[in-house]
């Protein structure tokens, strides 16, 4: 990856059902929307009708939750074909999915389960990302997930694993700074070590989000504004990665479009502050 295929689209939000009516009727200004690919990998009906109206007005980037690059099972060709049909419909400049596994022997967890961080698994995962990228003919970014468990079989840190995979797959990173924070709290590591270690030139997109803190665990709930420690990581991330497309995820207890968008636009202050720092 000599030059980045990931343009800076500025600040967007995740497209969610409660906002459909507002967006379609009011056509608010928004730099871009991220869609959950699986919600639109259907053959007809309201999902595609809404999507087509959104595509007339806005830039859309696809984000998936079921490619499961870390599965031991081979990549699902039928799934890829459906995904490619959607890629052609949206003209997404890249697409992202998670560095995780989620199904085995044909049974699906519908979760983003952590991968065991070993060299052999990194090679296997990278190979599957390459296969998907070749088939889909669009650049792929893989996202670091929040996790609540680490495998005893791990041979390296998560950020070493992420770096190994993306270098081998020659793909981008969707750096989720909320996920880094959540995992750092759950597994007792310094999130800034993580941020400093990943290959910054491969970061094509950043996710920000809120989470929920329990007594002994933090869960990646996407049901709150972005908390200060996550903004601090975001500020550090753009110091390293420069201007990168940024997206706020808000998936539960979703407030109004204006409230979600205003939360996302707080990112501009950090981008502005970054620009004021002499190189």
């Amino acid at each position: 990856m000599n030059s980045t295929p990931f343009a800076n689209l500025r600040v967007g939000i995740g497209l969610r059902v409660p906002h459909y009516r507002h967006i379609l009727e009011e056509k608010p200004v928004c730099d871009w929307f991220e869609i959950i690919s699986e919600n639109f990998m259907v053959d007809g009906g309201r999902p595609l009708a809404v999507l087509d109206q959104i595509l007339e007005q806005y830039r859309v980037v696809q984000h998936g939750v079921s490619m499961y690059f870390g599965n031991a099972d081979p990549i699902n060709r039928e799934h890829l074909k459906k995904l490619k049909r959607l890629v052609k419909r949206t003209n997404t400049p890249w697409l992202s999915d998670h560095l995780c596994w989620g199904s085995v022997n044909g049974r699906y967890s519908h979760d983003l389960l952590p991968i065991p961080y070993t060299m052999s698994v990194a090679k296997h995962t990278a190979q599957k990302i390459r296969q998907a990228q070749d088939f889909l003919e669009v650049p792929i970014c893989v996202e670091n997930v929040s996790s609540y468990a680490e495998f005893k079989q791990n041979e390296m840190t998560e950020w070493e694993f992420l770096s190994e995979v993306v270098e081998r797959a020659d793909c981008g990173i969707l750096l989720d700074v909320n996920n880094i924070y959540v995992s750092s709290q759950n597994h007792d590591f310094d999130p800034f070590d993580y941020l400093r270690a990943v290959p910054h030139h491969r970061v094509g997109q950043i996710h920000i989000a809120g989470h929920r803190r329990y007594d002994d665990i933090i869960l990646d709930t996407h049901d709150h504004p972005v908390p200060d420690p996550v903004w601090a990581l975001y500020a550090e991330a753009i110091q390293h990665c420069g201007h990168v497309s940024t997206l706020l995820e808000w998936d539960d207890s979703i407030p109004s479009f204006d409230e979600v968008h205003a939360e996302a636009l707080k990112a501009n202050q950090f981008i502005h502050d970054h620009d004021l720092v002499p190189a």
């Binding site: 079921s66 199904s103 967890s109 698994v121 468990a149 002994d216």
Partner: protein
Amino acid sequence: MTSCPPKLQTLADLRELQHTMATALMSPLTRDDSLRASFKDSAQALIKPRAKLGSFDRLEIYARQYWFRLLDCLYDDYPGLRALLGEKRFHHLSRAYLAAHPSESWTLRNLGRHLEAFIREQPKLTGTKQRIAIDVARFEWAQVLAFDEAALKPLNIDKLLGSDPATLTLKLQPHVSLLALDHAIDDWFIAVRNTTQGSRSEASNARIESRAPSKTKRVPLPKPQKLWLVVHRSGTDIYFKRLDREAWLLLHSLSEGKTLLTAIESALADATFDRDWSAQVREWFQSWAALGWFTH
């Protein structure tokens, strides 16, 4: 209990690790939503303990997320069945169903695919309401299909003029479902929908708590009544429409690949002579064609 390799050297090792973890996640939770104690060995073989939480507790988080997410999905997709059985019995049915039929699709949209068959196979779970529950499950699955199945290019019926009905076959749109029911589910469902509070929310990845039951006013049970129903989509909206028995039989025969002539003959085999069936069939076809139900 499944073993788990201490070191991952091959793809088979990775598969074994994932199988071990998936087996734990997909096994039914205890009554108090805990992971079964029998998975302690699996947890210890898989997951690093840390000061705040041990291996078992960490595995349990994922198990709860799995169950709560899938239960939420059935809860959203089957409001009628929920109203019919009551929250507690519906929850019990859902847990038993998911234990017998874990998700086999990348999309949760297909989760209820086997629910009707499961209700037939497990009569104790729905008790005296089994027959109504079967009708409701069929009706709600038809709505899932009507929501996002394809609408293929509709057939222009005028272009079929002159075709030989003895060889002509017509296909129905994938979003069209034909249901022969034993209860007046359609009117009942509208009454339920009008009294149910709350609506589907966007699913987030994390699920740590069971959803609190919504408040549904009690609606009288649907009356026994033979119902010939079609569930379909027009534009982006889902509709259901009662049909005459003969009309339903005609469409059903066509959907099974019978020729137009055979379909008409079998539909009208028991018809009385007090109607002008020729005019009636023509009128049906005009209406169905206007709705775009036929395709190549």
